[in-house]
């Protein structure tokens, strides 16, 4: 069950990303409609993070391509914000909440310039939006897990993007923070933003999302939650890997065989 849309915000075309020539994301092909809250689900190690990284140009695809707003990422970089997993940075880094959020305002162009007044205002606004205004001067090492996650989200908000990609924003946060984050995301959706969230809790998925991408190295389904959130597709997603696919993957790794023929 893969629904395609016209004028997608994000299009993945036959995307394959490999580690040591073994595909972690294999021929994933879908389109994402604008102004939706989209969940990405799949078991551990099913390539969700790799896929997001490929969208952001952090992993080089072995084949296929990604189009964001119909363009290459480099042309529309300032319209996309990425929130990596919380554990991907060292929270002992000596910086304050304010300075960490301000980093969302950095671009290639203003890197050597002074911070503008507008940047400062936006930063403060975003800190308010995630209810950390009382912690603005606090060092990030002194925050709780939920607060750290909110710093990350505020930083993404500061980017003032159109498309947001969040990698497991609910991992290890308390219920109150999760609720606060989800209502913030819903607000953003109401403003016409598109938000994609890697999610683990199947219980809450139908409540949170309008659209669901289900994957397990390969794409299982992509479509309206009412169309795809059913037992059969969930079984396919979580029911282990396909034997043949695993064998071919191993073979690729062993033989260093090219994933695509070069012309």
């Amino acid at each position: 069950m893969i629904s395609h849309v016209d004028n997608p915000v994000l299009e993945l075309h036959n995307l394959t990303v490999t580690y040591e020539n073994k595909p972690a994301v294999w021929n994933v092909d879908y389109t994402i409609p604008e102004g939706n809250l989209i969940g990405i689900v799949g078991p551990n190690g099913s390539g969700k993070t790799t896929m997001l990284k490929a969208v952001m140009g952090l992993e080089k695809p072995s084949s296929g391509y990604v189009k964001v707003f119909g363009n290459d990422l480099d042309k529309v970089r300032d319209k996309v914000a990425y929130v990596p997993q919380r554990g991907s940075v060292d929270w002992d880094f000596p910086t304050s909440v304010y300075d960490a959020v301000l980093m969302g305002r950095y671009t290639k162009q203003n890197l050597f310039k002074r911070t503008s007044k507008r940047d400062r205002e936006i930063t403060n606004d975003c800190i308010k939006k995630v209810q950390l205004e009382n912690f603005s001067k606090r060092q990030i090492s002194q925050l709780s897990g939920g607060q750290q996650q909110r710093v990350f989200i505020a930083r993404a908000l500061a980017q003032e993007a159109e498309l947001y990609l969040l990698d497991e924003p609910f991992a290890g946060v308390d219920a109150a923070t999760e609720n606060a984050i989800i209502s913030l995301l819903q607000e953003m959706k109401a403003e016409g933003k598109t938000i994609m969230v890697v999610h683990h809790d199947l219980q809450t998925a139908p409540k949170y999302f309008d659209w669901l991408v289900m994957m397990n190295t390969r794409l299982i389904a992509s479509g309206k939650i009412s169309d795809v959130f059913n037992q059969e597709l969930l079984n396919q997603t979580y029911g282990g890997r396909l034997n043949i696919l695993t064998q071919v993957g191993e073979l690729l790794k062993q033989t260093s065989h090219p994933i695509r023929e070069k012309k």
């Binding site: 069950m1 893969i2 075309h13 390969r218 794409l219 043949i244 064998q247 260093s256 695509r260």
Partner: protein
């Protein structure tokens, strides 16, 4: 030549020294394999620097250059360095790399402080302590050589006795715990052995370059084998060869420090291994890639001939090169070389500028075509890809899929008859 004979056979002291160097290098390399596999390569670097103050302190206290006393000091401060590294990483927010660098440089600096005070105090018996910085195996005394050789031998024997549990701890710590193996004690033992091997090894290469004697042989060996036993054997062999050559050089040119020569030779072996190693070496990868490319070219030509035959309903027809090129875009020179390869394998019959299948070739062409179409079906059915997206993937996988996977595919897909583009799947029996 005469020099070499002199070196190996004339001087009895040299024979002892050589024996000691061989054993010292081998023991360091063997212990180093475990350090390497436990991803603690740089810990060895830090410990070897941390040994310097211990040697100096032992000398200041005991006022003797007795190797046993100095070794005791060396072991003590090496151990203290190791504990300090763990302590800093566990008790502060500093990460491992900073803890290593800090211990390495501060211990070493303190050692230099002590060493220079000893030297400047004019103590006549001090001369020779600075040998520990770059090592000078060639200048070792016979009695020292015997002592160090024996120690190294004990170390090697210990590792051989405990080989199996140590291997388990290194490769799968959790499994080892679950089997009730005393992992903590074995790890402690491994640490003791490491510090011990370093304390001995600095006699040959000195504190500054000792890390190389631990890390480099293991790194080089890794490119030739995946088997721990072979890895240890090769690492020891590389280290021993370098040790002998380094000692020989500083024996013939007494001004040359032993350590840097041993390390340079060792590193050269390592670089050669990385390039030529047949398990993981760079060259083996390049070779594999070239072989893959040739195979792909051959199979593509066969498939093309098969398609042409299919269309014409005749597989025994000669096809000219331009007919082949019209069917499939490729470089003309490539096509020629591919056809030559196929002819030498008795897969096609060439006549001037035309080619036709041999029986064997027809079978191969059919097989590749069949895999291509089966994979396309698999992609649409199980990877849920649109029929117009599957061709490129199948183009690559048709060259990869083994007969076993081919069989699995047939069964899994229940012997389908047509692919997503309505072409028939060519089974052998149906023809």
């Amino acid at each position: 030549m005469e020099l070499i004979i002199d070196f190996f056979f004339k001087d009895p002291v040299v024979r002892w020294v050589l024996m000691a160097v061989i054993l010292m290098c081998a023991s360091a390399a063997i212990v180093g394999c475990f350090t390497f596999l436990r991803k603690r390569a740089l810990v060895g670097d830090a410990i070897s620097h941390a040994i310097l103050p211990g040697i100096c302190l032992a000398f200041i206290i005991a006022q003797t250059k007795n190797p046993m006393v100095l070794m005791l000091g060396a072991f003590g401060s090496g151990w203290l360095g190791l504990i300090t590294i763990d302590f800093i990483t566990n008790r502060t927010k500093l990460k491992t790399d900073a803890a290593l660098g800090l211990v390495l440089s501060v211990f070493y600096g303190f050692g230099i402080l002590l060493l220079t005070t000893i030297q400047n105090s004019g103590n006549a018996s001090q001369s020779g302590l600075d040998k520990f910085l770059f090592g000078n195996a060639a200048a070792m005394m016979q009695s020292d050589a015997i002592t160090f050789g024996l120690f190294s031998l004990v170390l090697i024997i210990l590792i051989f006795i405990l080989f199996n549990p140590l291997k388990l701890v290194t490769f799968d710590r959790n499994f080892a715990i679950s089997r009730g193996i005393p992992v903590k004690r074995l790890e402690l033992l491994l640490s003791v052995l490491t510090v011990f091997a370093i304390a001995i090894g600095i006699q040959a290469v000195g504190v500054v370059l000792m890390a190389a004697l631990l890390i480099t042989p293991a790194s080089a060996a890794r490119f030739w084998t995946h088997d721990l036993k072979w890895m240890i054997f090769l690492a020891a062999a590389f280290a021993v060869i370098s040790g002998i050559m380094g000692t020989f050089i500083s024996y013939t040119l007494p001004k040359m420090p032993t350590g840097p020569w041993i390390v340079t030779i060792l590193s050269t072996i390592a670089i050669i291994s990385i390039i030529f190693g047949f398990k993981k070496g760079i060259l083996s990868k390049v070779r594999l890639r070239r072989l893959n490319k040739k195979k792909i070219l051959r199979e593509n030509i066969l498939k093309c001939l098969y398609h042409l035959g299919e269309k014409a309903g005749n597989f025994d027809k000669f096809w000219s090169t331009w007919e082949i090129l019209e069917k499939r875009e490729m470089n003309k020179a490539q096509l020629k070389s591919g056809l030559k390869q196929l002819e030498s394998r008795n897969l096609v019959i060439l006549k001037g500028n035309a080619a036709k299948f041999s029986e064997l070739g027809k079978e191969e062409g059919r097989r590749v075509t069949k895999i291509h179409r089966l994979w396309e079906i698999y992609l649409t059915k199980y990877m849920k890809m649109a029929p117009d997206h599957v061709h490129n993937d199948a183009e690559a996988m048709e060259h990869l899929i083994t007969p076993e996977i081919e069989k699995d595919l047939e069964v899994h897909l229940k012997f389908p008859l047509i692919d997503p583009h309505d072409s028939p799947v060519p089974y052998k029996d149906l023809k």
